[in-house]
Symmetry: C3
Subunit: 140 residues, 3 copies
């Protein structure tokens, strides 16, 4: 019998960085008992975003952060939108280049994430923030 | 009772720029009466794309456009594909870097878009175009 | 009556490049007989990704590959993560900038892909790999 479930996750960030939250998603999903379905993860912000990336070597996360620093630097002379601080417009650009939403199929009771795939919240602002993620699942 | 609905939106663009269309989506969805569900927005083009971005300060949109101008410039010496004009290959690159599809959960009868999140069509070509967006919703 | 179907596609890549696989998806979907629904395509890797791009002129694919070469070059001096070869960290970055997942509505028995839209697997590594794609469809 097809059905749905939704949940809100609050993630406290410590300023810029990638925060793994695959386990929080899996824990919630485990209690919902879906065998086949589609999980959607949605980030309710425009200065934080989502990423599926390698979960093995933390240097991958460091290099990713550095890449986005170079491509969309905190250089106010480049931007008109400066009212919310030098890190705000780069945060919007970095969000535009990554994902606001990700959907992951569930097969045989498990998310089909690959062995090396982890789900990350990418905080783009320098200050700590409380970020809201909405989870939606449909299936049976 | 789970059910689906689909709709086609036609958006006339005035050449390059970001066009907010959150209201068109909300208006259609309002008449479909879903309490819980998943809305998918799909752009049927490879030289226009989708973006969820800040809806408060229009300067954010200007800076985003400028960023993509710099990163994928209209410089024909860079591209082999030139037959459709100097703005076509940059349009394909800018589409690849943003989104062709976005899915947004519906909870308590509302899209879970954050307060500052707006849904935008990003027209990458210089000339006006008529763009087709397909909406799909599943839920109850 | 709403129902689901899932499938795994294995795609053998020949090293870096864009591999069209719209036909494999359409062939599978054809046998599943959905009139209205939502297809989700998920890539189980962090050094290969998904892209919807122009399917007419192969030069578009060449220019896209070249763009990502320039923006995230194979230059080890830029990266901390070097243990898996000079093409691994650029592969993670290029995956982050494109898509790990794409969802496409089905209307009147067909994927709503535009005339010029093709579905591509973007292999970012230099060596051939076997890549796993998971397909999920929900609808009726």
């Amino acid at each position: 019998m097809l059905r749905q479930a939704t949940q809100r996750l609050d993630i406290a960030t410590q300023g810029r960085g990638l925060i793994a939250f695959t386990d929080s998603v899996r824990n919630w999903l485990h209690g919902e008992h879906f065998t086949t379905g589609l999980l959607t993860v949605f980030c309710r912000h425009t200065s934080a975003s989502l990423l599926i990336q390698e979960n093995a070597d933390p240097d991958v996360c460091r290099d990713l952060i550095r890449f986005f620093d170079v491509i969309a630097p905190e250089d106010e002379t480049r931007y008109i939108h400066r009212a919310e601080g030098p890190d705000d417009m780069p945060a919007h650009i970095r969000s535009a280049l990554t994902a606001t939403q990700l959907s992951i199929p569930i097969v045989e009771g498990r998310l089909v994430l690959g062995t090396w795939q982890g789900l990350y919240l990418f905080e783009h602002r320098r200050a700590p923030h409380r970020r809201e993620i909405v989870l939606h699942v449909i299936g049976e």
